[in-house]
Symmetry: C2
Subunit: 580 residues, 2 copies
């Protein structure tokens, strides 16, 4: 059982059949066709030679197939992680240099080790701290940044920079140097790819094709673009007239080798590796969970850490760079009928064959075409409309989302995401440190107690019922003391204060100290504290202190029971009223 837990492949290998193999193979062919341009393009985005994109799409896929728990996740280079790789390495080394390539491998290794470490230490929950608004803002802003960084390839110019503020002026300064043939080719590709993405599917559906197939075919549009563009460049010798092309790519499989272990550099890359791991994990798990739910399969987030960790270490020792599960690619894999991770192994085989035999075909592939495939892909991820929805629903989530977008665009991807996560946590803790609390009374005709300001309820004359809508813990321990002091000023006739704990999910040591202080202060004012509706786990915890023996009050199973004991007349009054 334990081995099975760590090697999810045992399960599907045992029941593997020819029928399933056929379905996997078909999916693998479609994903391979989609992955070839993507892997070349994302390597370029990461500042690496295109071949490293192919390298990063062989061994990692096999390792994920062995250790990953999702049956249909398609692993490989993805846009956001490639952007983060470039952001981490470009300040350190010249893009494409041997040191840069080595550092990319080291980054993949660090990211893999961190993912495995998180698996062993069960730290997968850390990924939860990337809230939806932060992730959504991060992906939108990254999309804009990626598109902008690729614009130089479409324009045939050079431009530098990691942020909007650096990229825009750099591009504008280069406008006079635009290379017209490159721009024409890039623009045509952009328009064509955008049309394929937005129109082809409905066209195919109108022609009677099944939605799944139409979707998958649409996703292979980039391959067609690449073939045509290579033919055009070769026919018209455009490379000689200044259209930048991929050039010679070494044939063959990557040599297996450990990245150079430079401790100084490792330490420097560690924060970037951590962010890459977390973002990659979140992106991957989200798509894996969505797909698993569709077929009522389960994925195990902790096992996903193992799978992605193994994939990244495989990338590191085979000349690649950080990888994760890709969103659109996994959906294509799923829709094309992949049943097991064998589809991933077959995809790796397809890429390996490409690397072995077909790399000369990419010699005349223009950078502008790769850039166009990237731009069309990432712009579809940009969704600034969600800012509006978030604003309406929660100002705090909005602040976190807006800060993430602003940070990514103006200060870089790493600072942006750290700002977003930091702000979400800070805002949550701020809110929780001033919790909502309500004085409650009995809803006439029921045993239910609600806020006196929102409902027409019956209150006792000398029993005050306070419902605190937050766990009692260190950020708000002091707040409760202040709230209760104020309450006693408002209710001078109060003899009993019942703290209704239905919203209290935890009492920590700081809050326990505060409760003890509150009991003392109330006693000097002639008021006795009681508790009601204390949940099981909280009760268990209180039993581990001396509080219950010393506080002098009672713990009632319900607020109703508390009032029945402390002021039966008020209960009678409320029960006999007509419910509204």
């Amino acid at each position: 059982m334990k081995v099975k837990g760590w090697l999810p492949c045992i399960e599907w290998v045992a029941s593997y059949s020819r029928v399933i193999a056929g379905q996997d193979a078909l999916a693998a062919i479609i994903v391979t066709l989609m992955l070839i341009p993507q892997s070349l393009a994302y390597a370029m985005l990461a500042g690496l030679p295109p071949i490293t994109g192919l390298y990063a799409s062989i061994a990692p896929l096999v390792l994920y197939a062995i250790f990953g728990s999702s049956r249909t996740l398609a692993v490989g280079p993805v846009a956001v992680i490639s952007l983060m790789t470039a952001a981490a390495l470009e300040p350190l080394f010249p893009a494409g240099s041997a040191a840069y390539i080595g550092a990319a491998m080291l980054l993949a290794a660090l990211s893999g080790v961190l993912l495995l470490l998180m698996a062993v230490l069960r730290l997968g929950f850390l990924a939860n701290f990337l809230s939806h608004p932060v992730i959504s803002g991060f992906i939108s802003a990254s999309g804009v940044l990626i598109a902008l960084s690729q614009l130089k390839h479409i324009l045939g110019v050079t431009a530098e920079g990691q942020t909007l503020l650096q990229l825009l002026p750099s591009l504008v300064a280069q406008l006079p140097a635009i290379h017209v043939p490159t721009l024409v080719m890039g623009a045509v590709c952009l328009v064509f790819l955008q049309l394929v993405r937005t129109r082809l599917k409905s066209l195919l559906l109108a022609l009677g094709m099944s939605p799944g197939w139409a979707d998958s075919l649409t996703k292979t549009g980039p391959v067609l673009t690449i073939i045509v563009s290579v033919l055009v460049v070769s026919l018209f010798d455009l490379a000689d007239s200044g259209v930048r092309v991929v050039g010679s790519i070494p044939e063959g499989l990557p040599a297996l080798q450990l990245p150079t272990l430079d401790w100084q550099l490792s330490l420097q890359l560690l924060p970037a590796a951590l962010l890459i791991s977390l973002v990659g994990f979140v992106e991957s798990v989200s798509v894996a969970q969505t797909l698993a739910a569709k077929r009522r399969e389960r994925i195990d987030p902790d096992q996903e850490l193992v799978g992605l960790g193994a994939a990244n270490i495989a990338a590191a020792v085979s000349g690649g760079f950080p990888v994760t599960g890709g969103f659109s690619r996994s959906i294509v894999n799923f829709e094309a009928g992949a049943r097991t991770p064998m589809a991933g192994i077959l995809t790796a085989l397809g890429i390996a064959i490409t690397a072995l035999f077909f790399t000369p075909l990419f010699h005349n592939l223009p950078h502008a075409v790769l850039a166009a495939t990237i731009i069309v892909a990432v712009l579809s991820l940009v969704d600034f409309g969600s800012l509006k929805r978030t604003w309406r629903f929660s100002k705090q989530d909005f602040i976190a989302q807006a800060a993430t977008i602003f940070g990514v665009l103006c200060m870089g991807v790493e600072i942006g995401i750290v700002m977003g996560v930091g702000l979400s946590l800070l805002l949550f803790l701020w809110r929780t440190s001033r919790p909502h609390s309500a004085v409650v009374g009995q809803l006439p005709g029921t045993e239910h107690f609600r806020n006196i300001e929102r409902f027409a309820v019956v209150q006792s004359e000398f029993v005050v019922s306070l419902r605190v809508d937050e766990s009692l813990y260190f950020p708000n321990a002091r707040y409760l003391e202040e709230r209760i002091i104020e309450l006693m000023v408002d209710y001078p006739n109060c003899k009993h204060l019942v703290l209704m704990c239905s919203g209290v999910n935890l009492i920590d040591a700081s809050a326990l100290d505060s409760l003890e202080a509150i009991v003392e202060r109330l006693k000097t004012a002639g008021v006795q504290l009681h508790l009601s509706e204390v949940k099981g786990p909280v009760m268990d915890q209180l039993h581990r202190s001396e509080f219950l023996q010393n506080f002098g009050g009672q713990v009632f199973v319900s607020q109703y029971a508390a009032l029945q004991t402390l002021d039966p007349l008020s209960v009678k009054r409320a029960s006999h009223s007509v419910a509204e």
Copy 2:
């Protein structure tokens, strides 16, 4: 009203009287006698010339009296803040050098500005994140570290180091160089001061003295020790035989001057200044609140930020170093009968007179005696027993406390407190990311619903009631999805799932996304989601999204009402059962 808010002194000045002045003056005399040795000693602890301790006890007290909201808080140098000052500056400059003194003034200025900034931005809540176990662990460990750092003065040797691991070997290596006369004098003082602290009070009480007076007199023991030791050193010319003494102290008041504004250094000192501000604020507010509660006065934490900020800026421009409200000193002030902050102004006057006329008297004051007063004072703060209580009550609080103690002792005060706060937050978020949830049923004979595993309750056959004991927000958004999928496996006959939201104090955008996903998944399984006992603020928030229109279920005022509508037969069954 607004001016009054920012200048709390207006209130007490208006009603000041001769009687109150007498009480304040008496308290001021006692506090002055206590503060003279303390301020000299804590300056030494901070690595500064003794006179800076007196400087830090004049202007800051006056400024706090004007801007602070506590009537009895006694501000000045305190042990923990002095240790933190030394920890921040000793790695940068030689202790006692002009650069060191300037940096200490800069640190006070930064700390003052940060406190004022927190007041303006209403960030006082940040101090709440120093949980009680972390603060308690921090103070205990700091006490040990301070005592150890002062041991060199008792032994008459030199020793270096910021942590246990540095101090201990350094001290052991110096053992052969012990200066016997210094050791004898130090040891005698230690024993005497300890006896005064532990025995004198009961002796005085036995002699019929009032507890308040006995306490205050006990606290002036160090003054007696100082007088006697100065006499002994002078009489026997011990300074010539190698007992290190304070030496010449310049007479007069500090010159008012701005600390040198070195931006590079300011940036370097900022983290230390932030920690000093927070720790100082927490220590000060705790004692201020305790004392205010005793006399039914109120303090305003935001105004305390202003008062302490002003005090630190005053320290910065008058040759001092970071200050805050002292624990034992404030209690003495309170017990000695101080009624208003005028006692603080009078104390400042006392210290000013001392600085003007009496500094030559301190020439022969031995370092060993000052060290002894520090050691006895701080060891009384050490309370490792609280580790045991914390362990029993909450393992998570224990981990945070133990990490703080370990960090402070072995890695330094700043790292220690950051570790403690970081771990408390991380552990809280970890716990909150796997919240407790319970399937609930109706308590027979009541309208109350409790955990089916803890109570003998009645459950409906096709309505499952799930109570989630946590706010629904990003750290646990994914968890809820998983929990509900599992629940549906356990209850195959379920037609309605009622989410009882009594413990849900907040739903954020991430959780809203999850809820929408849950509704979709439940629908495909033929189950309808409903909500019950949704609190007002959460309901307001849901109204700002489309969730309530789209989810297809109902929102019931209580769990009882939900069951009455969805499965009246089960309610009838439960209501007619006999309550246990």
